[in-house]
Symmetry: C2
Subunit: 649 residues, 2 copies
């Protein structure tokens, strides 16, 4: 008898293991299907459904199948057991069931009204994975990759505008959505659709902040394919990357805003506490992220000294790079800051300093590794979003709320882009034209971040309604606006290049746009924003020489009395580069990083891109081995360490 | 009041998230430390402590700190709660604690005597992660990488010997260890050290099977650095890779061996059932793994037809490759087979067929990706092994058992290597010399697989004793034998090349060994084992033309009546290659894959390796772009698709 029982329990455990495999297998198949579809679409130059839209569609279908085809084997889980002996939920619970002790692990707190939802399908429950997986595993690579590809001359040139859109714009968007939703909620209570829940103004603001995170991944992918104007691309990319960070911290601050008395009344003390909270977390995360990157830069920098040649071991270098970047995320989380923000700025700083110190082999390795992780994570998230519509068990669909949210999202986007563009154009020499503004308005898709923020807390009914609504808005914007990008670009006459069937045509157009960009470059210095110029001066004179082996030696930039220290800190190779322009790593052909599962081979063109930057910036650009395809070719030719090394041997 | 409670619960959850971050951070720091140490060691050519040994040492120190420095904040978790309403443990448990419902997830079953162990440190508990993580996340990349790097001419030449050592040798080792341990257990019961537990002969055999998995990762790394004889390297590598698969399936079969009556008595029916079980699972996993690889080969193969050019999108190709290989693992697990075995043979088949179809860019990407994953997973496992000595809470140290296990492991290794080598030498033309046999005996380290198999089940006291013993044997063998490899090679006079300080000396020695190997190559065909020749013929005539674009066209190898089908299945480019030797992908310079965080740059030598293989095999070798450094260089020069493609455009 006992033997039999033991045997059964082993079988159970086996079943448990296999169950996990089945779920992962479902995701794998969805991803494989998505890849095959992307491939097919790319072959047919079919742009009305982007891969993210496709992934979502497959997820949706699979969710439908799981929901209505699989049966429910686990009915017992809906029962609630009483336990009066405890005061709070411990992290581990040992339970004696018919003389056998089982260990249970704390998962989450559940509101009473949700208990019934748990009586459902066990398969559905298993497909709904822990929200913390989004924040701790899937988002960091995406955000890091975004930061890592931000290393752009155009980004720094447009820094002021991007910061305005990202900070002020997101705040405006959050408040506008909050106000409109509050109106809709009041109306819903009035017509009796909504019982008197705890749906305060802060909840509306919370919804506003999470819906303010834009994710134009689809739009940017199409921009990249179509060779759209670089300034528009940079504005959109920069805005969306920084705006994610702002939205995440904003959501966190609002959820901790707790006025002492009536939650509807305005409490100045609590408000300023929230603002302080926002600033503190943002600054702290920024500092955490950049300091890890600086440490990485210093470690990889030391390969120039004779003793330590980390660049000889690209695997170790890549490993260190990966682990230190991940540590930035984890440290921020452990310190109570926002890991996502830390990893974003870590990525930006790594690209700006560490990247220049890496060996050519490591440059390629890190680039491909992060690209691949980004690709997988992105498609997993979009698949999961599709799945969630049917597998998530506590959806609350409210048509009025959804309609209100749609209206709010558009009004908020409009009151972000148009007024701010008007203000920015007062100060900008190169104005943001009207059609660019329309395109930016149109590109306000909602994606992974909005979803991740919404799924993080789905315990109360208002939060569930927000989650359902956020999910539907993501579907709507990704499919409709994502699909409409190409026609919209044509309509707004932004599309510079008509991609024909003949690759040669592409080339000519590319060369034309390149020469236009060359003309443009001569005026760069004069046009630079003052913010950029101040930053550039400081970076070029002090940070670059300290953290990389480019730029003028510190001995020439620091005051004379610092000379002993300066000599110690300057790389020997910096003296040779003294006369060169350190500006070269704000690379021109900057579009390559965003979508590298692009054709790299069959069109032998892209070398032209780098010719442009070589013309403009001189020889050093070659040594930098930048992120573009031109640099890629160069990396391939010398597998050795930095060429400067030879002078040391 | 309620507000306050809500606030507290949010804080708790936050604390819960951060805790996870802290644990991961600890692992990150251990890995960063390990990498920095490896780097230092490599710089000083210090070979007495390999990186795996270093990782284990750091893990050990960290475990010591966690155990004795951190305090125990979670005392409540030791209490066992009664629950009579249930019959078995459901996967999810909802528990009402002071009017708040919490969700708990099933973790595992616990024996009564272990309950006390849970009263300990919460930090320790959290550092001890789920054994299934080893099997489902950390081992697959290591095993796949091993399979993927098995693509070797020497491997197929020594196939018979490798299979003998792997299958027969592991079986011998398992039985010998089982018998010796049974003797020791009897003695322990006799002197009263051991109460009359359920320590049957099958338990001893179980221990024997898990201790039979050898893991000479340390030894092979040093072999590679020292340029040891390729045949010895191949024998050891091939044996250890296949032997892991055999040990895993053997352990599974033994744990399901359940004689009906007295478990000590021999039950023929149950025995043959176990043998059948073994064969079925092995064959099934083999089939599952290879069929996924064949599917991958067919998909990537289709890029030669005009319609589908997957090779233009290296990211998609890499993604598909990765996902299909992982699916092999997951499908096998879901089907109740052994995922590790499936993923091993998937790797072997991928390397043999799919690899040839990939674009040069994807070849490099997949290679670097799997290398990197292997590197990380390996170091995580070794760090974790170090940690486990102090953080695992149910260790049972029994000196006699440990001593017995040490003796048993050595006797078993000896009765595997020497008798089998003697038998094999009767049939081999090129004998396995005595010093090779001693080196193989010496290289029987125990590592990740033995540990993972032992940690999978630590519920009963015998299993805990086995786990503790296995862990200590891993420590002992990795540190003592790993550290002693270099002196041992010198002593046995196997060390071909003395690595001096001057890199030129290295080069000369390398060139010398290369020319020796060239001489050797001329006799290859004649010496090939019959097993190899049969397989080679079939593979060359039918499989290669079907799955890759090399080899003779199927129209010439299949009977005439198959012509229509054959024409359909043959790649157009195969006709051009008709006269070439398809043997070239059994590459010569085969050592590069195993340890690629080796210097690739500062010594401009390795092109010589490929010169050797080019001389021997003609032009096609270049197109194949093989795994060695020579091929690497070639891949870099043309970033385009396979050169054959041009003829199609």
């Amino acid at each position: 008898m006992e033997k039999l029982k033991k045997y059964v329990s082993v079988k159970d455990e086996d079943h448990f293991y296999h169950q996990g495999a089945v779920e992962l297998l479902i995701f794998n198949f969805l991803l494989i299907l998505t890849i095959l579809t992307i491939w097919l679409f790319k072959n047919h130059r079919f742009r009305f459904l982007h891969e993210t839209g496709g992934a979502m569609l497959y997820g949706l279908l699979m969710g439908l199948i799981i929901r209505y085809v699989t049966k429910s084997p686990d009915v017992e889980s809906g029962t609630v057991y009483e336990c009066e002996k405890l005061n709070s939920g411990p992290s581990t619970l040992l339970i004696n069931i018919t003389n056998q002790v089982y260990e249970y692990q704390y998962k989450r707190e559940i509101s009473h009204h949700n208990v019934n939802g748990h009586q459902g399908n066990a398969m559905l429950q298993k497909m709904t994975f822990d929200p913390s997986i989004f924040f701790n595993i899937l988002l960091p690579p995406i955000i890091f990759h975004a930061g890592y590809s931000l290393k752009k001359r155009h980004f720094f040139r447009n820094l002021g505008s991007i910061l305005t859109y990202a900070f002020l714009g997101t705040a405006i968007s959050c408040i506008v959505i909050g106000l409109i939703m509050y109106g809709f909620v009041k109306a819903m209570v009035h017509i009796g659709q909504l019982k008197q829940w705890e749906f305060h103004f802060t909840d509306c603001l919370f919804f506003g902040s999470l819906m303010s995170a834009t994710d134009p991944v689809t739009v940017l992918a199409i921009f990249h394919e179509l060779n759209v104007d670089t300034d528009l691309y940079t504005l959109l990319f920069g805005e969306s990357v920084l705006n994610d960070a702002v939205a995440i911290v904003l959501t966190h601050s609002i959820s901790t805003y707790s006025p002492k008395e009536n939650p509807n009344a305005f409490d100045a003390a609590a408000f300023f506490q929230s603002v302080g909270n926002f600033l503190g977390i943002f600054a702290g995360s920024f500092a955490m992220g950049s300091s890890y990157a600086v440490v990485t830069a210093l470690i990889s920098f030391t390969h120039l000294t004779k003793f330590t040649k980390l660049c000889e071991f690209p695997m170790l270098e890549t490993g260190l790079f990966f682990l230190l970047s991940w540590s930035a995320f984890l440290s921020a989380e452990a310190a109570g800051l926002t890991g996502i923000v830390a990893v974003l700025f870590c990525g930006v700083t790594q690209a700006h300093y560490t990247y220049n110190n890496l060996s050519p082999d490591s440059k390629m390795r890190t680039k491909q590794l992060f690209e691949f992780m980004n690709f997988l994570a992105e498609n997993v998230i979009f698949c999961y979003m599709g799945l969630a519509l049917f597998t998530f068990q506590n959806h609350i669909f409210n048509l009025l709320f959804i309609f209100g949210a749609l209206v709010a999202v558009f009004v908020a986007r409009a009151s972000n882009i148009y007024p701010l563009s008007f203000l920015l154009n007062l100060g900008r020499k190169q104005k943001i034209p009207r059609n660019f503004q329309h395109m930016m308005m149109f590109s306000g898709l909602r994606g992974a971040i909005a979803f991740a923020l919404a799924i993080r807390d789905t315990d109360s009914q208002p939060k569930q309604m927000m989650f359902t609504t956020a999910l539907l808005i993501v579907f709507f914007t990704v499919w409709v606006f994502g699909g409409g990008t190409t026609p919209m670009l044509t309509r707004l006459q932004i599309r510079l290049v008509l991609v024909g069937v003949d690759p040669d045509e592409d080339l000519k157009a590319k060369a034309a746009s390149q020469s236009a960009s060359n003309l443009d470059k001569n005026t760069t210095k004069a046009e630079s924003a003052w913010l950029f110029r101040i930053w550039y001066g400081f970076d070029h004179k002090y940070l670059k020489p300290l953290l990389t082996h480019t730029g003028p030696p510190l001995t020439s930039t620091l005051p004379e009395w610092c000379n002993p220290v300066a000599r110690l800190l300057t790389s020997p190779s910096a003296y040779g580069d003294q006369l060169k322009d350190g500006d070269t790593d704000y690379i021109i052909n900057n579009d390559e990083l965003t979508e590298n599962y692009e054709p790299t081979a069959c069109i032998p063109a892209p070398a032209q891109d780098s010719t442009g930057s070589i013309q403009a910036t001189g020889k050093e650009d070659i040594q930098e081995g930048d992120l573009g395809l031109g640099g890629y070719k160069l990396q391939l030719q010398h597998t050795a360490c930095q060429p400067q090394k030879n002078s040391l041997a």
